[in-house]
Symmetry: C2
Subunit: 304 residues, 2 copies
Amino acid sequence: MIELRHLRTLIALRDAGSLVEAAERVHLTQSALSHQIKDLEERLGTALFVRKTRPVEFTRAGQRLLALAEQVLPLVRMGERDVARLIGHEPGRLHMAIECHSCFQWLMPTIDHFRDHWPEVEIDIPGGHHFDPLPALAREQLDLVITADPQPLSGVYYEPLFRYQGLLAVARQHRLAERAFVAPEDLADETLITYPVEHARLDVFTQFLDPAGVRPREIRTAELTVMMMQLVASGRGVCALPNWALTEYLERDYVKAVGIGEAGMWSTLYAAIREESREQPWMEDFLRTARETSFAVLEGIKPA
Amino acid sequence: MIELRHLRTLIALRDAGSLVEAAERVHLTQSALSHQIKDLEERLGTALFVRKTRPVEFTRAGQRLLALAEQVLPLVRMGERDVARLIGHEPGRLHMAIECHSCFQWLMPTIDHFRDHWPEVEIDIPGGHHFDPLPALAREQLDLVITADPQPLSGVYYEPLFRYQGLLAVARQHRLAERAFVAPEDLADETLITYPVEHARLDVFTQFLDPAGVRPREIRTAELTVMMMQLVASGRGVCALPNWALTEYLERDYVKAVGIGEAGMWSTLYAAIREESREQPWMEDFLRTARETSFAVLEGIKPA
DNA sequence: CCAAGAACATGAGCTAATGTCATGATAAAT
DNA sequence: ATTTATCATGACATTAGCTCATGTTCTTGG
């Protein structure tokens, strides 16, 4: 019997273009997908896609099932959502804080989408609190915090949203601009621009420079991403940012980006929530929506 | 994650009205369904139906999922059907013979429905053959035979369709008419009307009278069911027929029906096909359609 | 009102489906 | 030709999902 699992796999496969990446998206191994699809194909008595091409090419049978998936999965999700809504009549509250300074880009579409489906949930991003957001979460002053560095805190659960790559933004004519990636030593006599937060919470240091024992010549801070970009573009320094925070500047050819370290510098973005709110139907829905929206809106990120 | 399995279960549950019978329909145990649904309910965080009532009553969440199932399952079946059709381009042939004389009632809707979906399969019920249909099946003169007594024959596979109960039709004012069921001895001085086939192929004898060593006073035969009903109604005998062959006469209050033996006399109706044709996509579809249609059209039958 | 019968729940245990891991084959890229 | 990426495959592991046996609860009929 065909199951929804199979349909979800096919969609992931189409979106990803390869088994390996599709496997990541559905949080299984490549092997599992290979077996799963092979099994399905055997039962149906036909191949569903051609593996030799990149991206994979679907056979007619495969296309038919894809179409089926497109019809069916949204219906199922709507159904689940309705059921969830039938349960939690108590109007929910979703007050959130955003640690990472440039998340609005993908968070806003998420919120818009969410608001349509859960009109009764009160959403807010209270501005200008100067307290530490994670304790405030535990204190129930906040309900969700977007953060890149989870710290163990009783009652707080960190739901991974996605992984992203940190890139080094440099001026277009910078000496490093044509490199595929930089080594820690390359930053030894550069000015590094960061957000004004503790050293320990910046991945460039913890993951990249500190392990190599390298310190940049100078460190200066800036509050806003645009500001940083101006400094970088005018050659007054370099700065490490998530790939998706940079795309708009890269598209406009305002700065260049190079990889950080040979393997790249990857971090995970988390949604921190209280344990109890974890099973709230609208919370589950929000997290799912957030993940979906981010994959739709952002490029070059990977499932956590 | 919700799966199609769950939706299929819910539909079965609604149609059946109780877990026990729903379990039969999906060919699982009552326990399995209980676990399955409990698990689903836990994950959704709400009950789906009230178990105390008969038939079971669905909660709002349950109703929503039922609606979902009604939307989704037909789509899935159409998808599967299309895929199956994409494979088997070779035009199929489906020539069938019907052993049991009063099957047209449910077979016709099946054929109609099937013809819409598989226009390229040539369907026929060749009439008036006087040869034995099962050997003809092996000889590839026929492709499907509806029969109630499977006989081991190499290369022939018997797919069970459903189980039905044999009932004894008696005149309205007959002395047995008010009984819940008859014992073998009750027939000792009755005239029994049967189809004109070998003794060994009539369940009344093999399952009921022979084991008890009872012979009816007289046996007479009739070709057609209507004929039998006329004889029965006018008090010239009694006859054993499948429950579904009788319903139309019962509804019109033309005859009465009583059970045969305390436990009832149950037989299974089979579709006999050749081993090889068993995996033909349209054959699978025909059998499924046949089973579905029969459950929709007939009452008082059970899954095999 | 009690005994017997249905129908559902539940826990233990088993099996088979469905994963992972390690590795090999194949094709594309350098 | 070598490296790198992707997919296939077999052996093993895990676990979801089933059956079996039994308990609980509600209904029915004597």
